[in-house]
């Protein structure tokens, strides 16, 4: 098998064994059990079982239409905005079923932030973008808001670029800056998990690199689930990788293992570029 990335070489294979034992002690943040999802008649997710651990970066890879975006949008129930969606099975977030009637979807989304494919800041000032989340959750004190805005922008590694123009419209920023602003916006309500749906697909290589470095930083405080169509990106930044194909999880393991010794032939074919 051809080795695709620098990271997935023999040396790091030893490391993966140690990360493997480490994860055993980590708590499960999201546990998906027998999840099935249909768009009308189209069976988009099939019997998904996926335990996701905290303070890790979990990458979801797979060819277009494999259900990876659908899956991540199911984790914060954004997928239900499409009226024809039907779901069976359960997803436990911190041991609570997110489809439970007593679990308000707003509460779930307050704990689980999301960053989208295309940067989508609000047409407001940079400050207001970040302050939006805390404000709707009832934080009104200007001093506290100022602190949150600064901390979040620093957390998203964009503070130095915008600190002198906090009152300017967010749409004056470059695409990469907008995406980091959206990350800051998600950080402002101090979530537990951050979902990222191909966050760099609309960005140039330098902005992509910045976001990737940021993900590495954020991992210390948050659990991150990232959908990407870029396999090198998954290899560079994730601890575990799930390979989706036609709505099924083909393989889920340590990233190093997936990229060096995949156990399924289809995974190998995909990561070596034979299809997808």
């Amino acid at each position: 098998m051809t080795v695709l990335t620098g990271k997935a070489n023999a040396k790091t294979n030893n490391l993966s064994a140690s990360t493997g034992s480490e994860t055993e002690n980590k708590k499960i943040v999201y546990n998906t059990k027998d999840l099935n999802l249909w768009y009308g008649e189209d069976h988009a997710l099939k019997n998904i079982n996926l335990p996701i651990h905290e303070n890790e970066v979990t990458a979801i890879i797979g060819p277009s239409g494999c259900g990876k975006s659908t899956y991540i949008k199911t984790l914060n129930r954004m997928v239900e905005m499409i009226p024809i969606v039907r779901i069976s099975g359960e997803i436990l977030y911190r041991e609570r079923n997110i489809f439970d009637k007593n679990f308000q979807v707003e509460d779930l989304r307050t704990r689980v932030g999301m960053v989208f494919q295309k940067p989508n800041p609000f047409p407001k000032s940079i400050y207001e973008n970040v302050a939006y989340g805390p404000k709707i959750h009832g934080i009104r004190d200007k001093k506290i808001l100022d602190e949150i805005v600064e901390k979040s922008l620093k957390g998203a590694a964009i503070w130095n670029e915008v600190k002198d123009r906090l009152n300017e419209n967010a749409y004056g920023l470059s695409g990469g800056q907008q995406q980091r602003l959206c990350i800051a916006r998600a950080l402002a309500i101090e979530p537990d998990v951050i979902l990222m749906d191909e966050p760099t697909s609309a960005l140039d290589p330098i902005s992509t690199l910045k976001v990737e470095e940021l993900v590495q930083e954020l991992k210390k405080d948050f659990s991150i689930i990232i959908v990407t169509h870029n396999m090198q990106q998954a290899a560079r930044i994730s601890d575990k990788t799930a390979f989706f194909l036609s709505g099924e999880v083909i393989e889920f393991a340590e990233t190093d293992k997936i990229f060096s010794t995949p156990s399924d032939k289809r995974t190998e074919d995909y990561i070596t570029g034979r299809f997808g």
Binding site: M78, M81, D107, M114, P121, F122, Y132, I136, C182
Partner: protein, 318 residues
């Protein structure tokens, strides 16, 4: 490659030959091509020339009026008695009539129109929208004379049953009906503005744990505010210029009052009354038509400028 296609389809000449043939006949076409911009300019100029013509007439006749009536006393005069020997021309009764009816109309049209727009854009199912939007458009298509009749024969008697002091002709009833007439305009333009807000913004707000109401009021409405305010201003313009409803249902008493249960006359209704009567050309009465029309014109012009300014000033770029 070329050769093979020719052989494949030898039943007709090659496309390149056909194009070359067509090119020979280009002369007639190119003359037309050169004339078209001129012709189109002429057609476009019709509306401009008309506007300039109307404006010139208005100005010249207004100037004549102010040679007969003092400019200052016209705009500060609270008395309007255009007929008889001692005619007095003060425009304030007409101005208050216009502004009060407009205010009543907008008190109806702005909240109901905006709520309708929010419902249609954010809450209504595809099916509800398909039914409701055409109904709104029908409402917008009703001739104003019908609204006027409706105000006079239905709304006024209805209002009189619980407002005892209401006069048979009053400004309240046509004001309310004008508001109903303007609802579709406000609703439809505001709905367009809100529907134009990209869904990604709603998703961004929802993903932060916003409720639907918070998304609507704190993200969608602010993002669409320039279009929404423009719809309000256009609605005000429409109310100021509205004629038939107030002529029929508000009577023609030229009271200077703020009592909405009384009959008042608007600028437009005055123009209808005087031009329908026997105002001989060249008289002060006749010229007063133009002065009032000019005032009306300036009013609506200013409103349109405000609308334009607002939609530029408050546009939230996205």
């Amino acid at each position: 490659m070329q050769k093979s296609t020719r052989q494949d389809q030898h039943s007709r000449p090659a496309v390149s030959d056909l194009i070359a043939q067509k090119k020979k006949n280009r002369t007639v076409g190119s003359t037309l091509e050169k004339l078209v911009p001129g012709i189109l300019f002429g057609i476009a100029a019709v509306s401009i020339i008309t506007t300039v013509g109307i404006l010139l007439t208005l100005i010249t006749e207004t100037v004549l009026f102010f040679q007969e009536v003092n400019f200052f006393s016209f705009f500060t005069g609270t008395e309007l008695k255009p007929l008889g020997q001692n005619a007095v021309f003060g425009v304030l009764p007409l101005l208050t009539g216009t502004l009060i009816s407009t205010a009543i109309a907008m008190l109806v049209a702005i909240p109901i129109g905006l709520m309708t727009a929010i419902y249609l854009s954010e809450y209504a199912s595809e099916k509800a929208r398909r039914i409701l939007k055409p109904i709104l458009e029908i409402l917008a298509g009703i001739p104003t004379i019908v609204y006027g009749f409706f105000a006079f024969t239905f709304v006024t008697p209805l209002l009189r049953s619980f407002i005892p002091g209401l006069e048979p002709t009053n400004i309240l009833s046509p004001g309310l009906v004008m508001g109903i007439m303007i609802i579709p305009m406000v609703a439809s333009l505001s709905e367009d503005a809100m529907s134009a807000v990209p869904n990604s913004m709603r998703e961004g707000a929802l993903a932060l744990g916003s409720t639907k109401l918070e998304v609507t009021w704190k993200v969608v409405v602010p993002a669409a505010i320039s279009g929404i305010i423009a719809s309000f201003v256009l609605g005000i313009s429409r109310a100021i210029g509205e004629t038939m409803i107030v002529t029929i249902a508000s009577g023609s008493s030229k009271n200077f009052t703020f009592d909405i249960t009384q009959s008042m006359q608007t600028m437009t209704a005055y123009i209808v009354e005087v031009s329908g009567g026997e105002a001989a050309a060249g008289t002060t009465l006749y010229h007063s038509l133009y002065a009032v029309a000019m005032t009306l014109f300036v009013f609506t012009l200013v409103m349109n400028f405000i609308a334009q300014y607002i939609s530029r000033r408050f546009r939230e770029e996205y």
